[in-house]
Symmetry: C2
Subunit: 457 residues, 2 copies
C-alpha cells in the first residue's frame, strides 16, 4: 500500500475463486502438473501489434510469493474458508511457487493468441497466480503498445510520459512509466519510476509556479536562478506570446519552453520564429495537453517545429482501449498415465490445446514475414526463431533479465523489422499468424471427442 | 511495490516538477500559505454526476508523507537537483505536511467545478502533494461513479466487482474494489480489498476448475465436497444447458450457477426454468462477461431472471471514459499584507479565484434542487448545506472517518435525493450549479486587471 500503514500483500491481491480452487485442488489431491498460457485473444480497433511487457515483474512476483501469518489468519476467518481443515492453511503458509515458466522477452512484438507467458506447475500453484500475473502483464503490455504508437507518430522527436496524475492510482503511474519507456518514450516525469527502474526523468514547472509570483517575469527569473542549467519555462499561463517574450530575457540559458494549451501548431510556429529571431536556435519547444498518436501525427504532418512531446492521460490509460482481451487458460495437465490436452470450443473464445511455441519467420532482409504457433514439441520452420524462452525452472531463476534500456532497444528494433503495412497507425494490414497443422488436427480431434461424448464430459 | 523487493515510496510517486518547484519555493523563501483546490472540470458524455471518493486515503497519505534517507540520497544524485544546496535536502528529510485540509466526504455527489479537496498549507507543501492526491482521488471517483451507474442499472439486484485482473495493475484492482463498493456494489472478488477495507468477498470457480477433472460432473461434485455451503457452479465450460443439468444433481445445496458466455437473456431464462422445475427455486443465477450499465439495463428491461451481476473490466477501467478532467489549482496565496486571489482565464480551462464552499439546496421533500459555489467567507443560501468539511488542521487529524459501509450508504441516499432527470443513464438533464455573484464579480475583476496590466503580469 501507499501509506504509512503498511502495504497491500501480493498473495492476497487476487480473486477469491483462486483461493477456493486452490483449496479444492489441494484437498482433492489434484496436484499434478498443469500448464497455463497467458495470451491476448484479439486486436482492438487501431491496434495491429502488441508490445509484450511485464515479464520481469511477473517473475519477481513468482519468486517472492508468500502468505504471511497475518494473511492466513485473515483467510481462516473468512466465512467461505473457515470450515476448511488446518492442513490447508498450513499449506498456504509453506506455499512457494516451484514451477517452470517460459515467457516472451519484454519488448517483443506479439499478436493475438500467441502465448506471452507459459506456466507449468502443480495445479494449485499454477492456478493461484492467474489474477496477479494477468493484472501485471495486461497493464504493462497495454501501455507499452499505446506508447509505441505515440512514439511512432512522433517520428524521432522525443516523447515523455507525463501521465502519473491520471493513471489509475499511484502504482499504475509508476508501472505506466516503465511500460511507456519500453514502448519508446525517452523518459518520464515520475520520480519513483526513475529511482526503481533507472528511467530518465524530466520536469518543467506548472502554472501554479507562475501564479505564485507577482508577475510572470519574476516567476521566470526566480526559476532560472534555482535551475540555471535546466530552465524549461511554461509560457501559457496568461498570454502565450507575451509569455514567450518574457522567457527570452533568459537568453541562451533558456533550455526550452513548454506550450500546454491553445492551437499547438500555430503557437509552436510562432514560438520557433520568436526564439530564432532572438538567436535562441538551440532552445527546444515542448508541447503537452491531451495528446495522443493522432494529434502528434497531425502536428508533425503539418511540420510543426516541435522538439518534444509530453504525453499523459491518453497514453497511460490507453484511453481509446483501456483494456485488452488478455486471458490465462489451462492448456494441458498431467493425467495418471499421460498428458491430457485441454481446449475450449466456444465461439470467439476458443482455446487451443497443449504447450506451444511461437515461431517467427524473417526474410533475407531480416523483416518479419509471419508467425506460426506450434505445439512445443514440434520442429520449427526454417529461418524462424522461437519467441518463448525459459525463465524459471522449478521455481529457480534461470534467466538474466536485460536492462530496461536493452528492452526498449529490442522493441525499437522489432518495430523496424515489422513491415510498415502491419504497423500503420490506422487501417494496418493483419500480420499473418497461423496455427500449425498439428495444432489444428489436435484441436479438431478434441472437439470431435467432446461432441461424441455425452455433453459436458 | 508488489514484490518482496520492497515497495514504492509514496513521497517519490510524483512528477519531478513538483520537486523542482518545491526546491524553487523553498530556496526563494516562498513559504507563505497558499490554497489549492482539486476539482473536475467537466462531465464526459453519459455521466451526469460524480461520486466523490478517495478522501480517507488522501488524508492517510498526507499524514504519513515522509522522505526517507534512501529517497533523499537518490534525489541528491539526480542531475537536475544535484547542484542544490544541502539545506534543501535537509528540508526534505524533515518534511511534514502541516496544512489545513477540507474535503467532500466520500460518497457525496459532486459536479463540475465543485472543489472535492481544498489544501491550505505553506506553498511548497501544498504543491508537493498535487500528483499523488490527484492520482488517488481521480481514480477512486472515476470508478465509484461508473459503479454507481452499473448499480443503478441493476435496480436492486446485487452487483459484484470482478475486475481485478484487468484493472491497471495490482494496486488499481484493490482501489477499484473499494471505489466500486462505495458506488454501491455488494462486494468484490478481491481478497486484499476484503482484508484491508472489510468489503464482502465473493467467488465461484473458473473454467479451469472444470477442465482440471475428467468430466464436468466430477468437477462439480468435487467442488461441492469442499464447499458444501457455498457452491456456485460455472456451468458454461462445455454446453450450458448440459452443465445446468449436471449441476442439478447437487439438489438444494446448489447455492447458485454462473453463466459467463453466450446469450445471457435466453440462457438465464432457460436456467431459471430448469432450476425451478427441479424445485431449486432458491438457487441463484449469477451472470458475468464484459457487462456494463447498458447491458445490465437491457437484460433487466427484458425481465431476465438474474439475481447477481459480476461486472469487471468495464467498471474498473471505466472503459468508456477511463479518465476525468480532474485538476488541482492554486486559487489564493498569502501576500505580505493581504490574500492574493489567483485565477486562470484560458477558454475551457477557467479557474475561479479564492477558497470556496459548495452549498447544496434541497426542497421540502429533501430532494436536491441545485448547488451554488460561493467564496468560503460568504453566507450560505437558505436550506442549504456545505459540502466541504474540515478534516486536517495544521497537519493534525480533526475528523473521524465513517466506515466504508456508511460511505456506501451515503452515496445510496444521495442518489435517491438526486431527481431522476439528473441521473438517467443516458441524456440526463444538467444538474444546476451556479457561481455566486460575488465569485463572478471577483473573477471579472481579476480578468479586467489582467487585461489592463502589461500582458503576462
Amino acid at each position: 500500500m501507499y501509506t504509512g500503514k503498511g502495504h497491500f500483500r501480493p498473495a492476497l491481491m487476487t480473486d477469491l475463486y483462486q483461493l477456493t480452487m486452490v483449496a479444492g485442488y489441494y484437498l482433492n489431491r489434484r496436484e499434478a502438473e498443469a500448464t497455463f498460457e497467458l495470451f491476448i485473444r484479439s486486436l482492438p480497433a487501431n491496434r495491429s501489434y502488441f508490445v509484450a511487457a511485464g515479464l520481469e515483474q511477473a517473475v519477481e512476483f513468482l519468486l517472492h510469493l508468500r502468505f504471511d501469518e497475518e494473511s492466513v489468519e485473515f483467510l481462516k476467518r473468512l466465512p467461505v474458508l473457515a470450515h476448511l481443515p488446518d492442513d490447508f492453511f498450513a499449506y498456504l503458509l509453506r506455499f512457494r511457487f516451484e514451477g517452470d515458466v517460459w515467457g516472451v522477452p519484454e519488448g517483443t512484438l506479439v499478436f493475438p493468441n500467441e502465448p506471452i507467458l507459459q506456466i507449468r506447475a502443480p495445479l494449485p500453484q499454477a492456478q493461484l497466480v492467474e489474477t496477479f500475473l494477468l493484472s501485471l502483464i495486461h497493464f504493462q503490455t497495454l501501455v507499452a503498445t499505446k506508447a509505441s504508437r505515440v512514439v511512432q507518430a512522433a517520428g524521432g522527436r522525443g516523447v515523455i510520459d507525463f501521465g502519473t496524475r491520471r493513471a489509475h492510482g499511484p502504482e499504475a503511474g509508476v508501472l505506466a512509466a516503465r511500460a511507456a519507456f519500453i514502448g519508446g518514450c525517452i523518459g518520464t516525469s515520475n520520480v519513483c519510476a526513475a529511482k526503481e527502474f533507472g528511467i530518465p526523468v524530466y520536469g518543467t514547472a506548472a502554472h501554479s509556479w507562475t501564479l505564485a509570483f507577482d508577475s510572470e517575469q519574476e516567476a521566470f527569473e526566480r526559476y532560472h536562478a534555482v535551475f540555471p542549467d535546466s530552465t524549461v519555462l511554461l509560457v501559457d499561463t496568461y498570454d502565450t506570446m507575451q509569455g514567450l517574450r518574457n522567457a527570452l530575457s533568459l537568453g541562451r540559458q533558456l533550455k526550452g519552453v513548454r506550450l500546454d494549451s491553445g492551437d499547438l501548431l500555430t503557437l509552436s510556429r510562432e514560438a520557433r520564429r520568436v526564439l530564432d529571431e532572438a538567436g535562441l536556435c538551440e532552445t527546444q519547444i515542448l508541447v503537452s495537453g491531451d495528446l495522443n498518436e493522432y494529434k502528434v501525427q497531425a502536428l508533425l504532418q503539418a511540420s510543426a517545429p516541435i522538439d518534444l512531446f509530453g504525453v499523459g492521460t491518453e497514453m497511460v490509460t490507453s484511453k481509446d482501449h483501456p483494456a485488452l482481451a488478455a486471458v490465462y487458460k489451462l492448456v494441458e495437465r498431467q493425467g495418471p498415465d499421460n498428458v491430457i490436452h485441454r481446449a475450449k470450443f466456444s465461439e470467439d473464445k476458443e482455446t487451443y490445446p497443449g504447450r506451444k511455441q511461437v515461431w517467427r519467420s524473417t526474410n533475407d532482409e531480416g523483416a518479419y514475414v509471419g508467425d506460426e504457433i506450434k505445439m512445443a514439441e514440434e520442429r520449427p520452420a526454417r529461418a524462424s526463431s522461437g519467441l518463448l524462452i525459459p525463465v524459471l525452472e522449478r521455481g529457480e531463476l534461470r534467466h538474466r533479465f536485460p536492462s530496461l534500456r536493452a528492452v526498449r532497444e529490442r522493441a525499437r528494433e522489432a518495430l523496424e523489422k515489422l513491415p510498415p503495412c502491419y504497423r500503420k497507425l490506422e487501417s494496418a494490414d493483419t500480420y499473418p499468424v497461423v496455427w500449425s497443422d498439428e495444432l489444428k488436427r489436435r484441436f479438431a480431434e478434441l472437439r470431435r471427442a467432446s461432441v461424441e461424448l455425452p455433453r459436458g464430459e
